[in-house]
């Protein structure tokens, strides 16, 4: 049984988790040009939740995830991956050709690879969290 709840871990987790999550989004968004990307960012985010999980246990983490089941995250990830494939069709280009749009005001490069990367991010996050939480839940119920 994994023991949760030492003061140092609890305090650290409370502050580290939001930071880690922000960092993961940062890694995700800059991934196309600098080291980073959906896979790495997904692992960092999973790390954030896992730390919280170790500190506060499964039910508290579920509350933080706001009832989002990790399995739904996997599904959402696959969904994003799939829909990023479609726009090229409408442009009359081969399947999976990357499309780029610039959002004018904030000068942000939006693209299908980014949507795809978000899909990777969610799928990785969902898969790891799903496995970790399933393992923790089994632990919890055992005498």
């Amino acid at each position: 049984m994994v023991k949760s709840g030492t003061i140092i871990l609890n305090t650290a987790a409370r502050f580290l988790m939001p930071l880690q999550l922000m960092f993961s989004v940062f890694l995700l968004l800059r991934g196309h040009d600098e080291p980073g990307g959906g896979f790495i960012a997904g692992l960092v985010a999973a790390g954030a939740f896992t730390l919280y999980l170790f500190a506060f246990g499964v039910s508290a983490t579920k509350e933080v995830l706001r009832m989002v089941d990790p399995r739904d995250l996997i599904g959402a990830g696959l969904f994003f991956g799939m829909i990023s494939v479609v726009p090229a069709w409408f442009m009359g280009q081969p399947f999976l050709t990357a499309q780029w749009w610039t959002i004018p005001v904030i000068d942000f490069k939006a693209s299908t690879p980014l949507i795809f990367d978000i899909g990777v991010y969610l799928a990785v996050l969902g898969s790891v969290m799903g496995m970790v939480m399933a393992l923790m839940e089994v632990d919890k119920d055992e005498p």
Binding site: G37, A46, T50, R71, I74, F95, L96, V128, G130, V132
Partner: protein, 782 residues
């Protein structure tokens, strides 16, 4: 057109939501989809009739010559109309049939998805597109047969249908690939237009056999016919739609599609005529064994499918005309009769025709519909089915090969079919009233519209085929099947000829057979011991054999101990890699010893970690030392300036350690199970593997068969893909399809892990009910 098909899938996916919003009206709402499509197809018909085939192309993977292109010609138009018009009828009907069923959303989902797949199948121009939609119809059919999944018979039948059609699907895939290789094109329209004669090609025979296997399994031809009657476990709207009007005709469609290019050879004519005629007679003969109304109709469907195959085999102009006419006629009356069967089952609570009787007075409308549709099935003028049957007999009389056999079989099948028609239409409605499990009422309007439309359509088309455009439609369909212009002009009266005399005689004999059906059935019951050794017994034997073989090899190779799994895998790897390396490429050990001091340290740490992991006496120690190895690898990535890989490796290592720590608590106490001998064996295997991997890397380094692709990626990642991080650009852009595949693998693995843990979890708490266990362990015994 592509949009229409894709929209179908979107609609299918959203049907649970629609059901929540619209409740019982969802069926009607969904029926709008095929109705609109039917309207669109009708509007396209003049264009197809005047300008010939329409090709709508949508580029998919142009580098491989694969495109999502659809072909609309006479044949696909005819099939498309059947799918959409009967689909509309069936959806409306299902709204009444499954009213208030708790799983109706699941039903809608599978049915609409099937509709879209079937449309895609008949419209597809690409061979691969056709194959994908072909498999999708098998899968949706599986889901629909097994709709009542709590019923073990339904599950078994669903599995049987899936295995038979998917096994045929594999053969079909091989056949389509051979066709693509032989013709040099993956597009049906190009293959059909090309001048080279595939009949002379060296691959003709294997290609034809593979394609025929696919078509015969799908269209329930003898000896693969047994899955179709079992598929009657599905709800009746499904039987009416998939297993009589549309899906089972997919194989027939494929044969008709390829007939202009592959047909007419001695092999084609002989196989198709003989198999078709055998199926025809088998279906008709087996039909009268049964008293279950759905089985009666299912066997008579097999008879019709056999007839269609036979007509394609005969291949004369008459046969082609008969083919398209019979196809249309059969879909209409059989769809109507199945829906009538559903009404009877729904209202009386039994499927046994001998348990029904005198229902005419309580269900007058149903009785009329059944009567009209059955007249068409029996081939009585002035119904459309009569024209179909006349042409069929005429075509059999004009056959060039095995003519006598075909005529005899066709005549016998006609007699039996008339008996079946009489049993279905007269037995439940006339005679004395029987007590039925439910008190019957007339069916609601929603369940009468569909069958009524189809039955009276048969009547109208029979009376005035030219006025209603059937001539024009069938001309264009027959032209597509024959590969040359073939005008069709139907009429009820061709004068007194042999076919007409055969028709009249068969009508009389068929009616006599119906009168004596009860005693005939008693006689036939004596054949039961022989019938048990039919093709279905072969299927069961094969399935049980596969299960026994897999049990044997599982006991041998996967005995539940992780160490044995790894041993087996490593030994196989050693055999394969070793064979390839040592025999094909003699590795050259040209090593430059230009290594830096810090590199030696990192590699040394890794080696130490590996060594300690093997000799450690505690699991935690082993985990930590494996972790050290992982982190050292990350260090190497960073030293050789691959920061992305380094970060990934670090994170993966961290996650691995976390997961291992969570798992460690669940393992039994650490103990020493291996004898010294086993230890030596394991050590030897491990060492061999290590040496081989070393040789593999050295060899891979020294062989330079292709120019490295990395320069291209370095040069083009910024200008083409607008990204400076090449690793990420490769992952999400250059090789996005690979990544997408990996995402699915990851998702499946995660779901597998979660499911295994939760399942175990359920068992320890005693939550698993008996039915759960039964569904997991259900054996394949007959």
């Amino acid at each position: 057109m592509q949009f229409a098909v894709l929209m179908g899938f979107v609609l299918a996916a959203s049907s649970p939501l629609l059901n929540r919003w619209f409740g019982e009206r969802t069926s009607l709402l969904l029926a709008l989809f095929p109705a609109l499509l039917a309207g669109w197809l009708f509007s396209q018909a003049p264009l197809v009739l005047s300008d010939g085939p329409q090709l709508l192309e949508w580029s998919w993977v142009p580098s491989l010559g694969i495109s999502l292109s659809f072909l609309l010609d006479g044949l696909s138009l005819l099939f498309g109309l059947l799918i959409t018009v009967i689909g509309t009828c069936v959806l409306v009907y299902a709204g009444g049939y499954l009213k208030g069923h708790q799983d109706i959303a699941r039903f809608h989902l599978a049915l609409v998805a099937f509709m879209a797949s079937m449309l895609g199948l008949v419209l597809a121009d690409g061979l691969l597109t056709l194959f994908i939609f072909w498999e999708l119809t098998s899968i949706t059919s599986y889901l629909l047969i097994g709709f009542n999944h709590t019923d073990i018979e339904a599950r078994k039948s669903a599995r049987q249908g899936l295995f038979v059609t998917v096994a045929g699907g594999l053969a079909l895939m091989a056949g389509l690939v051979l066709l693509g290789i032989a013709s040099g094109s993956w597009s049906l329209s190009e293959i059909l237009q090309s001048d080279d004669d595939l009949r002379q090609h060296a691959l003709y025979a294997p290609m034809l056999i593979c394609l025929l296997l696919g078509a015969f399994t799908k269209s329930a031809q003898f000896p693969f016919h047994f899955w179709l009657p079992n598929a009657m476990a599905a709800p009746t709207p499904v039987s009416a739609y998939l297993h009589s009007a549309t899906m089972v005709k997919a194989g027939i469609y494929l044969l008709a599609r390829l007939q202009p290019e592959l047909g007419g050879t001695a092999m084609w004519v002989t196989i198709l005529s003989v198999v078709g005629a055998t199926t025809m007679l088998t279906g008709a003969f087996l039909a009268i064994h049964h008293t279950n109304i759905k089985k009666l109709l299912a066997y008579s469907t097999i008879m019709a499918l056999g007839t269609l195959t036979m007509l394609l085999g005969i291949g004369s102009e008459y046969a082609m005309t008969a083919f398209v006419t019979f196809l249309l006629a059969h879909s209409m009356y059989k769809g109507a009769l199945f829906m009538v069967a559903g009404i009877l089952d729904h209202e009386t609570g039994t499927k046994d025709v001998t348990a029904m009787g005198g229902l005419r007075s309580v269900m007058p409308v149903t009785a009329v519909i059944a009567f009209v549709a059955a007249l068409s099935l029996a081939g009585v003028p002035p119904l459309f089915g009569f024209i179909g049957k006349e042409l069929m007999l005429e075509a059999a009389l004009g056959a060039e090969r095995v003519q006598l056999l075909l005529v005899l079989f066709a005549f016998l099948a006609a007699i039996l079919t008339i008996a079946v028609a009489a049993i279905v239409a007269l037995r439940p409605f006339y005679g004395a009233r029987h007590e039925t499990p439910q008190i019957p009422h007339e069916a609601p309007l929603s369940m009468l519209i569909g069958p009524g439309l189809l039955a009276f359509g048969s009547l109208a088309l029979g009376l005035a085929p030219a006025v209603l455009g059937a001539d024009a439609l069938l001309t264009s369909a027959a032209t597509a099947v024959a590969g040359e212009t073939l005008p069709v002009s139907l009429s009820l009266w061709y004068g007194v000829n042999v076919a007409l005399i055969m028709s009249v005689v068969s009508l009389i004999l068929g009616f006599l057979l119906f009168k004596r059906w009860d005693s005939v059935r008693a006689q036939l019951a004596r054949l039961a011991p022989v019938m048990r050794h039919g093709p279905e017994a072969g299927y069961e034997g094969l399935m049980n054999g596969i299960v026994r073989f897999s049990e044997w090899q599982t006991r041998l190779l996967q005995n539940g101990y992780m160490r044995n799994y790894i041993l087996v895998m490593l030994v196989v790897l050693i055999a394969l890699i070793g064979n390839s390396i040592l025999l094909r490429h003699s590795p050259q050990l040209a090593l430059s010893l230009d290594v830096r001091f810090h590199e030696v340290i990192v590699v040394g740490t890794m080696a130490m970690g590996a060594l300690f992991a093997t000799i450690s006496r505690s699991r935690l120690g082993a985990v930590v030392s494996v972790g050290i190895m992982g982190f050292s690898i990350a260090l190497i990535f960073i030293l050789f300036s691959a920061p992305d890989l380094g970060i990934t490796q670090l994170l993966v290592e961290t996650m691995t350690v976390i997961l291992l720590v969570l798992v460690l608590f669940r393992l039994p106490r650490f103990s020493n199970l291996s004898t010294n001998l086993e230890r030596i064996r394991d050590g030897a295997v491990a060492a061999t593997m290590g040496v081989l991997i070393f040789l593999l890397i050295i060899t891979a380094w020294s062989i330079d068969q292709f120019e490295s692709i990395s320069t291209y990626m370095v040069e083009n990642s910024a200008p083409l893909a607008y990204g400076r991080n090449i690793v990420n650009v490769i992952l999400v852009d250059y090789r996005a399809l690979d990544t997408l595949g990996e995402m699915f693998v990851l998702a499946l693995a995660a779901i597998g892990v979660i499911a295994m843990l939760k399942l175990r979890h359920g068992e320890t708490e005693g939550k698993a009910t008996d039915s759960d266990k039964a569904s997991v362990k259900e054996p394949y015994d007959g």
